[in-house]
């Protein structure tokens, strides 16, 4: 049996191309796009261009900026703190994109295919809401709560370890430079899981149940059904989640600000926090602007590559089905 799923905007675009061209009507739609375009211009494009302009200057935020050309970018290339912050970003991609996607997939499949079937869809919905809760909490609130949990002296985690006789496992979770980044990563996994879970469960709704029934009749176990049906069927959602979460990981700021302020000794610094502290704390506005410009360009490139890969994979998939 072949299941053909036409996907959102691309499907619409295909239908438009297939129909007669009506340029006049399409031009008149431009008016509807105008408010969004103006907002985009005022809130994104103009500030970005201004920021790029500032990045070519030496400026303390007051007085006249001094034009220094590419000096900030040259300094950036040799700045070990900047590159260390980017290395930490890669860890954040693991914590905020890779791990939550994997856990989210397994959980979504388990809730959809096991919990809903054996305990009822209400229980699946309740559990889904529980997993999604961290996404609803403001990151400042979640961060403060986690900083209490991970506190070295009276933190709940250390108290719990003590209570169950594992005192030797107690750690200064956010104060030990060898541990702090992993602790922040752990918090971010907790924060992120809900997003892929909800997207994947929505994706699973459109998978033809007959596929599962047929596989079950053929004697396929849960894991084989997950591997051969669930995964291929929700591949578009996986691409979307991975792209979205990778971008979120690259620009993560709130959690680092609340939990560690980049410390101890820069062990959890990330580019967005590095840019913020350079810009506002050190008032090296030009240099801070250069960091955020580079960060924006990198995020943009990675997003475009992600989207391109997604499109190519979808095209290849559709080609096979056709």
């Amino acid at each position: 049996m072949t299941v053909t799923v036409e996907r959102g905007a691309r499907a619409v675009a295909k239908h438009q191309h297939a129909g007669p061209r009506r340029p006049r009507t399409r031009d008149s739609y431009a008016l509807f796009l105008l408010p969004g375009f103006l907002a985009f211009l005022a809130v994104i494009i103009v500030p970005f261009l201004m920021n790029t302009g500032v990045s070519f200057t030496e400026w303390q935020g007051i007085g006249s900026p001094k034009w220094t050309g590419l000096a900030n970018y040259r300094e950036l290339l040799d700045d070990s703190e900047f590159w260390a912050s980017f290395r930490h970003s890669m860890f954040m991609v693991v914590a905020m994109a890779a791990v939550p996607t994997m856990i989210g997939l397994v959980l979504a499949a388990a809730l959809f295919d096991y919990i809903a079937k054996h305990f009822g869809s209400k229980w699946a919905a309740v559990l889904r809401a529980c997993f999604y809760l961290p996404q609803v909490l403001p990151i400042a609130v979640a961060g403060i709560v986690w900083s209490w949990i991970l506190a070295p002296d009276n933190g709940s985690l250390n108290e719990l370890l003590k209570a169950i006789g594992l005192s030797s496992w107690q750690q200064d979770w956010l104060g030990d430079p060898d541990l702090a980044l992993y602790s922040v990563m752990g918090v971010m996994v907790w924060v992120q899981i809900g997003f892929p879970l909800v997207v994947f469960m929505a994706g699973l709704q459109r998978v033809d149940p007959l596929l599962y029934e047929a596989a079950e009749l053929d004697g396929a176990g849960w894991w084989r059904r997950f591997w051969h049906i669930t995964l291929p069927q929700i591949r578009p959602e996986i691409y979307v989640v991975l792209t979205w979460c990778t971008i979120a990981a690259l620009k993560v700021f709130g959690a680092v600000y609340v939990l560690t302020k980049g410390g101890p000794g820069g062990a959890t610094d990330v580019p967005s926090y590095f840019s913020f502290s350079t810009f506002f704390e050190k008032t090296q506005v030009g240099y801070g602007a250069a960091i955020s410009t580079v960060l924006t360009v990198i995020i943009l490139l990675l997003s475009l590559i992600g989207l391109k890969l997604q499109t190519r994979a979808e095209d290849a998939e559709e080609g096979v089905r056709a």
Partner: protein, 431 residues
């Protein structure tokens, strides 16, 4: 290629976005400038000594200026710190504002011409005669924005300094004598460690750790050392005897358990609370804790200047500054004058602040008396040595980050001092 219609749309878009931007940056005059409103911003909590005193000053100002309304807005320290240059550059500037003192803050604003030169007013109203030399240092700035000389750009109504707070009950409980000398302090700390108690409350993620370290350096320093470091009167060498002693001793104290390694990531508030909860017998920090300890500490406590040091961290308090674009400057000067009056200064003193022009006999609270007496001792011996993060913009973050590395052992004292030297030389004015 753009069609004519698209060109029109694009032009309209550019014009509208321009209009949007202009609107967002434009004048939103609140109607002050009529001599009937004093727009006042400060960031002191309403229960703090300064908050209480200034609320009283507002009442007195309104009583003395019938028909004039004080439009007070309570701001956050960070809020003013990060947005002051933009606000002062606009027509939304208040008439009077509390602002942080030092080269990187009030100095930078004065250099950019964003603050009013108060020199004439200071002489006319006699504020200069009320402020001691040490307190006055942070009020005057030269053309490069360096404090210590030049014109008056701010007036402080209080002072602040650091001291050692002792939990006397804990000293009694463990049979340890309260230290009077530096040697006695280290002996007491040794004794606490032997009893399984970490003697010093500390916060590595904020100012407290760097202040311990700076105090250790100050105990081996003199005024010319401070002037070199803070006022650039000579070359600062971070590998000199004072800094080397400080870094080495601080690292040793962490190793010996005087300071918990676990305090690397804790904040000043956590350290203060741990002292209030009776978990640590000694806390070294500023007079800004004093009023709170008076209210919240439920045990017998005492305070003293850091033993064995002529210098300690401290300065005049934050400044009243009058923005260049203020519309009611005369009202602002009148308000400053009221905060300098005996009545308001005495109130500030009795609420746990350090007044700069109070009537000593009017301070009735014994603990407040002791606070002011210690300050007078310090002031008389010219002992205010400012704060370690002042000389260079952004140095605070460097100090936090590097001191954390020193605490965790990720950096040796020598490398720590080299890192500070590098950041200092990069930011300090070229000699």
């Amino acid at each position: 290629m753009l069609t004519a219609r698209r060109r029109v749309v694009a032009a309209a878009a550019v014009m509208m976005s321009g209009a949007l931007l202009l609107t967002s940056c434009g004048d939103s005059d609140s109607g002050s400038g009529d001599g009937k409103t004093l727009k006042l911003w400060h960031y002191e909590g309403p229960d703090s000594a300064m908050g209480v005193a200034w609320n009283e000053a507002i009442k007195e100002f309104e009583a003395k200026h019938p028909g004039v309304k004080v439009k007070f807005e309570e701001k956050g320290f960070d809020q003013i710190q990060k947005t002051a240059p933009m606000i002062l550059n606009s027509s939304d500037a208040p008439d009077l504002m509390e602002y942080n003192k030092g080269n990187a803050t009030a100095g930078a604003l004065s250099k950019q011409g964003l603050l009013t030169d108060l020199s004439a007013e200071v002489t006319k109203r006699g504020w200069d005669k009320k402020l001691s030399a040490g307190v006055r240092t942070t009020s005057v700035y030269d053309t490069n924005g360096v404090m210590g000389s030049g014109k008056w750009y701010g007036v402080p109504n209080y002072a602040e300094y650091t001291m050692a707070f002792y939990n006397k009950d804990l000293f009694k409980k463990y049979g340890i004598a309260e230290p009077k000398t530096f040697d006695e302090l280290t002996s007491a700390m040794d004794a606490f460690v032997k009893k399984g108690v970490t003697p010093l409350a500390n916060a590595g993620a904020e100012y407290m750790a760097q202040q311990y370290l700076y105090q250790l350096a100050l105990s081996k320093a003199d005024r010319s050392w401070v002037d070199k470091y803070e006022l650039y009167k000579g070359k600062t060498d971070f590998h000199d005897a004072a800094w080397t002693y400080a870094a080495q001793t601080f690292a040793d104290w962490v190793k010996k358990g005087y300071i918990s390694k676990k305090s690397t990531s804790t904040k000043a508030e956590d350290a203060g609370v741990s002292w209030i909860q009776g978990k640590a017998p000694i806390l070294f920090s500023g007079s800004w804790w004093y009023g709170r300890f008076q209210t919240e500490a439920k045990f017998d406590w005492d305070s003293s200047l850091w033993p064995g040091s002529n210098l300690t961290l401290g300065s005049g308090g934050n400044l009243w500054v009058v923005p260049k674009n203020a519309k009611n400057k005369d009202l602002a000067y009148d308000f400053i004058d009221i905060t300098m009056s005996k009545k308001i200064q005495n109130l500030l003193g009795n609420k746990g602040g350090v007044p700069v022009a109070a009537d000593t006999s009017a301070i009735t609270d014994p603990k407040s008396k002791q606070l002011i007496s210690n300050f007078n001792t310090l002031s008389q011996k010219d002992g205010l040595a400012f704060y370690p993060d002042w000389p260079v913009t952004g140095f605070y973050d460097v100090l936090v980050s590097e001191t954390q590395k020193l605490m965790t052992g990720n950096e040796k004292p020598d490398d720590y001092l080299s890192a500070l030297q590098q950041a200092y030389d990069k930011g300090a004015p070229k000699q």
